[in-house]
Amino acid sequence: MRMRRIQGFWLSWLSYPCITLLIALMTAALRPLGSALDLVNIALIFLFPVLVSAVWWGLRPAVYAAFLAVLAFDFFFVPPTLSFSVADIRYLVSFAVYMAVASLTASLASRLKQQLRYSRQREAQTAALYSLSRQMSAITDLHALLDNVSREASRTMGAEVAIYLPDERSHLTLTHLSDLGSPWGKEESEKVIAKLAFDHGEAVGYGSDTLRNAQGYYLPLRTEDRVYGVLALNLKDRKFRFTSAQRQMLEALGGLAASAIARVKLAEEAKIAHLTAESERLRTAILDSVSHELRTPLAAIIGSATALTSGDDHLFNAEDRQELLVTIREGALRMNRLVMNLLSMAQLESGMLRLRKYWCDVEDLIGVALAQVKDFMQHRRLQVQLPPEPPMVLGDEVLLEQALVNVLSNAIKYSADHSEIGIAVSAHTDMLVIEVADRGIGLADGEYGRIFDKFYRAGAAKQVTGTGLGLAICKGIVELHDGTIAARRNEPQGTVITIRLPVHRPSGEALESERHDRQETELETDG
């Protein structure tokens, strides 16, 4: 800033010798032609340096040029030459006319120049504000936003910037400083002035109506209905007043910052409101689901057991007894599944789960999962497609198997007996993809993303018992393994669940062993 001011100062002083030199040169050039040219033409030519000075250096150098030109014209060209005395008195009128024309042109030219400069400045300011507002509308983090505002303010004003925002208890606190090393902004007196600006919603300090002798300028960041904070400028080292353009820029910045802060705050509030509503919904869903899923099997167990222990041995025949006992067993197994699901969910959510990572053979995982669901399969036809050498996955065998069991159980639960269930594994360079496809009842279009939410039950699934935990657990497990899970429609009907797991290449040692293994086989064949 100071550099530019010094430069301006030199430039304006340098103009005077330049003008003098220019006129001297012109005079020297015109002098031999003096007799050939008419004096009127020479007078017109002498308007030229005036115009040039007005456009380049402004009004004052132009007036100086006009004055010098008249003198030169009088001395060298108006008879008697080489004298300031004027023979013909009419020349005095000419001089006056010349001066009037020169100063008028000069003032017009310099005003034009000023307007040009002014509009350039405005353009730069508008561009700066525009880019800032674009940046700010993209920012959702309050800290980054304040950082941007303070950087821009400190750049345009050439001063340190501090921003005060109210905390939860509405106490104004220093939230941001452009220069963290500086002691300015941290003192109590500055906070008191900032508080004044915050409470009144009006600018306070240097050059304003209140505390105009203060060293800082405190601008409230306000929208129409609320003050969101205070932007303070340290003007201690400043020797000049604000220009009106700077003041306007500052006010525009303040307004922009206020609306951006308002936007971020509103977004935060909306998020909290949404979370509260969501947790409320979840609580209701948990209670509904758990109480229903616990009570139904409990009722069956208690009913059957009390009937069997009622004491009358002749009440039930052997077949009835067996049926009641099977009811008890099924009820207990159902409760066991619920308890296991709830525990898994709680473990996943609490982050208590420690992932035990081992090499897992996907064929093995599928085998174990199939063995688990074998009893529910009934007559559903199973198609398993595996690549010849499926890559190994580094993961927790027990959890991955649980995820597969949950997906397979769903495929079985929501599809008719005798329908087909397909498991297709495909290996990509860095991904292992497991697809489980059923020909079951399928899902509505909007439900494909939601079925992985906790306690969400698809509309068509309401008739089938379940807690809405199975797929949420799958999602948790797969994401623990840095994988993804998604659902889509199966053609012509049913659902496809796709699990993608990252593939880690084993170390060279293990690959070495596989090569070794091939050699072993050859040896045996030879023997």
Partner: protein
């Protein structure tokens, strides 16, 4: 096998579970003794000298594993531990510390009785027959020849060793570490678990009808493998 004179010690702090085990195992003809704490379990184990011990790992006084280690210091009676589902670490530690098998709570009685029978049979006589036969599969330990439905199966030396170890403990779970140690010795590294999987996969392709639904070599997730003979 005569089970009527076999004595089983049950060490579990839950009266309900003890009652269930007592009633059912007595119905199967076993003689039942009970202990509610680890200390009592240790005392009874030394005075009764049971043929088999069913030990709950979650005891209130002593950690179940501690009881297991102290019994193993002087007794080789088979021990079956009871655990809850998501404690694979405990299962592995228990098996590697000398437990013969495990059953996960909640369990079906059929499963527990099968495990008890396998463990008692293994304890009664170490397998010293030269030829093991499991339905259509025979393993000639002398000739190192494996036949399935009368057809000779070509196995690599490593595959053969794995099959032998699993078959000799037929019905019992073998942990990954036990397999690695017996096949590759003490020098096995972390990455070896990768090629253990590879070899098991190869064995299944050669022996199983459908390698995605294995019947012979069954994975115990997170723990190891179990060679399933018909009666286990």
């Amino acid at each position: 096998m005569d089970e009527h004179d076999k004595r089983i010690l049950i060490v579990d702090d839950e009266p309900q579970i003890r009652k269930l085990l007592r009633v059912t195992l007595q119905a199967y003809g076993f003689g039942i003794h009970e202990a509610a704490t680890g200390e009592e379990g240790l005392k009874q184990a030394s005075s009764i000298r049971p043929d088999l011990i069913v030990l709950d790992l979650g005891l209130p006084d002593l950690y179940g594993l501690e009881v297991l280690r102290r019994i193993r210091e002087w007794s080789s009676a088979p021990i079956i531990v009871l655990t809850v589902k998501d404690r694979e670490e405990d299962k592995i530690v228990a098996l590697d510390s000398g437990a013969d098998d495990y059953v996960t709570k909640p369990f079906g009685m059929g499963e527990l009785v099968a495990r008890i029978r396998v463990a008692l049979r293994h304890a009664a006589h170490a397998v010293n027959e030269p030829v093991l036969s499991f339905g259509e599969l025979t393993i000639d330990l002398v000739q190192r020849v494996v036949e399935l439905k009368g057809v000779r199966i070509k196995l690599t030396p490593t595959e053969y060793d794995l099959l032998k170890i699993l078959a000799l403990s037929a019905g019992k779970v073998v942990t990954q570490r036990q397999l690695l140690q017996q096949v590759w010795g003490d020098q096995h590294g972390e990455s070896d678990s990768h090629y253990l999987r590879v070899y098991i996969g190869h064995l299944r392709k050669k022996l199983e009808e459908d390698s995605t639904q294995p019947q012979l070599i069954v994975t115990e997730p997170g723990v190891g493998y179990r060679f399933r003979s018909r009666d286990s």
